[in-house]
């Protein structure tokens, strides 16, 4: 058994003291002498030609230093680069995405000009003075309409289809020909907004003396951002530094390179002044990426006993007007995860990415996997409902067997480990599933609508071998033992709320036997930290933590050599034991990591040929993704008179492998459930047909407050993984992925007496009321409200 005091313990987070006392430094807290402020002029139209932009009234404002249009940047200053999209699709249509619009705007909120002034207030005043002459063009926001033809978002493409990806495995035609039942359903996964509470914030500065651009940004990916900025702006990468200080949440939305980051950087170089831009929440709703927005058409072939034998699938992903960094990747991830935790060998599918006059969709918590999990978890419930079987039993029937791992899915992923049935059984036992069903039958007799929803999910995370990633999948860590024995850790991942300053210190403290408070974990500054890929897709600890583990091993190997030399022992007879360097079998001879570090620093007592210093930089290339899984159970009561949903019980049993800090893991799951539940019940980004954003503020877009979410009960199982040396699977997205279908399945189950088959999210009271009402009017046999069975 390894020596351990920290890993596995509920250590309070070391990042918290600064956060709870208001002494943290978020980007907007960064103070630099001489800072000026940028404000953007944004399109009020979903689609329009820009006839003319008159900056003169803004430039006449006494506080204004400069103002630029896209034309200025791209023609007068020769800045031609388009924002990057990371993809590996050969025939992807990639229209230019200029950092300020040139000639045409294709969505509400697209920036057409920037104004820079001495104060933030003046910058906004002046931005309002900019006169833009637009010619409105027809817009399209519905991806299915966009698929049919004109109007085109990018006229020159002559299509709104950015890509089509067909896929087939097994023999789906045979499966459908032989099926006892075929269930068809359209499932819409509505557009949602990530809404980190800290809006996008940035401050750029050009140091003329050092010829260096520094961009503080609320980003999840400082290194990738630096690389892309250097390409977009045409400056050598060694003249660019990006810093992500404390970041107020990301959820994937800050895993991106935004036009504003490039514009602000370019302006700072022009003016040689620090330039700050902090978006308003309304701007955030317009111009920060959105998530989901898929229309999925499903056909499920099954036998009478509930075995799913085939799946036909069309995934239409609404990409928005332009590609952001990962826009086209997201719907393809949905295809990859289509079978979920079930053995489905026969699949035929097509993924279609479609441009519309809306903000781009991109990675939002789970990115692609929540969509897949949602439709497959709805599908098993639809099968159960059609066949009159218990949804838990249909799941059990189709699970990939415990004995079948590693299991390669029909879509080509290899799940290294899993035990779906045990986890579901644990969840069912905790909630007393049989008891709940009995209670439900009792309540139904009284006319009360209780629903029980299950979701058994598996997700792909720990992004994840480089070969499978649009932009590298490894990560890095450096450990430096300082002369006094304190330890500096530099991590290539860039956490923003996930607590890795603590988790990483826990790992190092245990493995090197040093007091946790002497460890400093540094991240998010490209001038300090070696290249890393960043924090997203639950990869921070699964990949970055694994790199840390490798660096620990390198340090230990060297420390052993140093100690052995000191003791004139054979290095093979020396080992790390209980956090100390010891001669095997002779505990009287021991040395701490700090002592070895001091010897390494002094340099004169080292074995011949061994370099002074005790530090290591290692990179971890994961051989595969990791696949956390779990079962979520949601119990709701629906008020038949109002359509209101009350969540009366919520249980999540997740399996994310080994728990390094259970407290942090639970926090991640809580937050994830809240976001997924909220998509099920409340959230939706709505554009009208002309491309106007109707949910442009926190008054119209409902992220839940404390009263709107329930108490959650959590439990877990632990199934190991050999994908990384820590034995962990990521947990950042699990809650979001597991919760949405559990909640929707519960509501549909509650409405079963009315024969309701499906209702599209969000399950707002009026939709539920309408479904109930329609069923009452049309008879219970076909009471689906919308998204009716085809």
């Amino acid at each position: 058994m390894a020596f351990t005091t920290m890993v596995g313990a509920r250590i309070r987070r070391r990042e918290d003291p600064r956060l709870i006392t208001g002494r943290a430094t978020y980007v907007d807290d960064v103070k630099q002498v001489g800072t000026v402020y940028a404000a953007f002029v944004r399109s009020p139209y979903g689609h329009a030609k820009i006839r003319a932009i008159d900056l003169a009234p803004a430039l006449a404002h006494p506080d204004v230093l400069a103002a630029y249009t896209g034309e200025d940047l791209h023609h007068a200053h020769g800045l031609k680069s388009s924002l990057p999209v990371a993809h590996k699709m050969a025939d992807l249509k990639t229209p230019p995405h200029y950092i300020l619009a040139v000639d045409e705007v294709r969505m509400v909120g697209e920036a057409v000009a920037v104004v820079v002034a001495n104060t933030a207030y003046a910058a906004r005043d002046a931005a309002e003075l900019v006169a833009v002459d637009y010619d409105e063009l027809p817009a399209v926001v519905d991806p299915l309409k966009a698929l049919e033809g004109a109007p085109y978002v990018h006229e020159s493409l002559g299509t709104n289809v950015a890509f089509r990806m067909p896929f087939s495995a097994g023999d789906p035609d045979k499966a459908f020909a032989e099926a006892d039942q075929i269930v068809k359903q359209r499932i819409v996964n509505q557009r949602v907004a990530p809404v980190p509470i800290e809006p996008r914030s940035m401050v750029a500065n050009w140091d003329e003396g050092r010829q260096q651009l520094t961009l503080h940004s609320s980003t999840q990916i400082p290194h990738l951002l630096r690389t892309q900025l250097s390409v977009v702006l045409g400056i050598s990468e060694n003249h660019v530094r990006t810093i992500a200080p404390d970041v107020g949440g990301g959820f994937g939305a800050k895993l991106n390179v935004y036009a504003e980051e490039a514009v602000v950087s370019w302006v700072a170089m022009q003016l040689e002044r620090p330039v700050k831009y902090v978006e308003t929440r309304s701007e955030s709703f317009q111009a920060m990426i959105h998530g989901r927005d898929q229309v999925d058409d499903l056909e499920i072939a099954c036998t009478k006993d509930g075995t799913i034998t085939g799946l036909r699938l069309r995934i239409v992903g609404n990409l928005g007007a332009y590609h952001q960094l990962l826009t086209p990747v997201v719907p393809t991830l949905t295809l990859l995860m289509a079978p979920g935790c079930y053995r489905i060998e026969n699949i035929s599918a097509e993924v279609i990415g479609v441009f519309t006059n809306t903000m781009s969709t991109d990675a939002y918590r789970g990115a692609g996997r929540p969509e897949a999990t949602f439709f497959i978890e709805r599908a098993v419930d639809l099968v159960a409902q059609r066949l009159g079987l218990d949804p838990a039993e249909v799941r059990r029937k189709n699970f990939i067997a415990n004995t079948a791992f590693p299991h390669t899915t029909s879509t080509g992923l290899t799940y290294d480990s899993g035990d779906y049935e045990t986890t579901m059984d644990k969840a069912l036992a905790i909630v007393d599933y049989a008891g709940l069903r009995a209670q439900q039958a009792e309540l139904r007799k009284q006319g009360r609508l209780m629903g029980i929803g299950l979701s058994t999910y598996v997700e792909v995370c720990g992004m994840g071998p480089s070969a499978a990633m649009p932009a590298a999948g490894w990560d890095s860590a450096t450990i430096r033992v300082e002369p006094t024995g304190s330890i500096t850790v530099l991590t290539g991942v860039s956490p923003h709320g996930q607590g890795q300053e603590t988790t990483f210190a826990q790992i190092v403290a245990d493995e090197l036997g040093v007091p946790i408070d002497t460890i400093n974990v540094i991240h998010g500054d490209t001038d300090k930290v070696q290249y890393g890929v960043g924090t997203f897709g639950s990869r921070g600890t699964a990949v970055g933590g694994a790199a840390l583990k490798l660096a620990i091993e390198t340090i230990q190997a060297k420390a052993v050599k140093i100690a052995a030399h000191q003791w004139e022992a054979n290095p093979d007879d020396v080992e790390y034991r209980d956090g100390k360097i010891q001669v095997k079998g002779d505990p009287s001879k021991s040395m701490s990591t700090a002592e070895a570090g001091f010897l390494a620093f002094m340099g004169d007592k080292l074995p011949p040929g061994l370099e002074p210093g005790l530090d290591a930089t290692r990179r971890f290339e994961p051989p595969n993704f990791v696949f956390p899984f779990g079962t979520h159970v949601c119990v709701v009561e629906v008020d038949a008179k109002s359509g209101e949903v009350k969540v009366v019980k919520y249980l999540a049993v997740d399996d994310c492998g080994r728990l390094l800090n259970p407290m942090i893991v639970e926090g991640q799951v809580h937050g994830g459930i809240a976001q997924g539940l909220s998509q099920a019940l409340f959230e939706e980004v709505i554009y009208d047909e002309g491309g106007q954003l109707l949910t442009g503020t926190l008054m119209d877009y409902a992220i839940p407050h404390a009263e709107q979410v329930p108490h959650y009960d959590l439990d877990h199982t632990v199934t190991g993984t050999t994908v990384n040396p820590l034995g962990i699977k990521g947990v950042g997205e699990a809650g979001t992925i597991g919760s949405t279908p559990a909640v929707v399945n519960a509501v549909i189950d509650a409405l079963a007496p009315y024969g309701v088959v499906h209702i599209d999210m969000p399950l707002r009271p009026e939709k539920i009321w309408t479904a109930i009402h329609a069923a009452k009017t049309n008879g219970a046999a076909n009471g689906a409200a919308n998204g009716a069975a085809r």
Binding site: M1, F3, T4, T5, G8, A9, R10, I11, R12, R13, D16, P17, R18, L19, I20, T21, G22, R23, A24, Y26, D28, D29, Y121, P196, I197, E198, P199, D246, G248, G249, F251, T280, R281, H496, G497, Q498, G499, P515, I516, D517, K580, I664, E666, G667, Q668, H670, G671, G672, I673, A674, Q675, T697, L698, M699, I703, H705, A706, E707, V709, H711
Partner: protein, 191 residues
């Protein structure tokens, strides 16, 4: 125009245009950046401060309206040397992740307990209605407020970060292998 106010117990005056929002006066003119801005519609509560002891959204007030009044920001609630029980409870209960909503949340919760020293969980949830958190799912925030209420009712002394997370803890004997043990210097740190 001239604004005179007392911020975290210190009298301050500043010259500001009439439309300057209190939150910007605090952040940009007085350097108190613990008060955050998360929205432009008074919806999120990240900017919550106490005005004469009562919570207000500082993005919804002009600085001039605070003239002559007492403002307490998160920096005045407590610092690393003397944590407010609410701060310690948020820390212990893991009531925060990114921390961006947290300062406003703590200020609101302090006000909530002033009005209702022993709230039920439902009352805590209702009382925090004006503050949005996107990270925590609120579960641990409710736990934190409950724990802080208990500590405050029992008049627990204020503690310091330095006591709870000492900078140079004494060397420890390693515990028996396999057992998960929290070292004494962090024992208060466990939940």
């Amino acid at each position: 125009m001239q604004i005179d106010l007392t911020v975290n117990g210190k009298r301050t005056s500043l010259d500001a245009e009439p439309r300057l929002l209190l939150v910007h006066a605090l952040r940009d003119r007085l350097g108190l950046t613990g008060t955050h801005v998360g929205c432009d519609t008074s919806s999120c509560g990240a900017c919550t401060v106490l005005l004469d002891g009562v919570s207000v959204k500082s993005c919804t007030m002009f600085a001039v309206q605070a003239s002559g009044h007492d403002v307490t920001t998160i920096e005045g609630i407590g610092d690393a040397d003397e944590l407010h029980p609410m701060q310690e409870a948020f820390w212990t209960a893991h009531g925060l992740q990114c921390g961006y909503c947290t300062t406003g949340m703590i200020v609101s919760a302090v006000d909530l307990l002033q009005r209702n020293p022993d709230p039920s969980d439902d009352e805590i949830r209702a009382g925090l209605e004006g503050n949005l958190c996107r990270c925590t799912g609120y579960e641990n925030i409710v736990k934190a407020v409950r724990a802080a209420g208990k500590a405050m009712r029992e008049n627990a002394p204020r503690s310091s970060v330095r006591d709870l997370m000492s900078i140079h803890p004494p060397a420890e004997e390693p515990p028996p292998s396999g057992e998960v043990i929290i070292p004494p210097q962090l024992q208060g740190a466990s939940t």
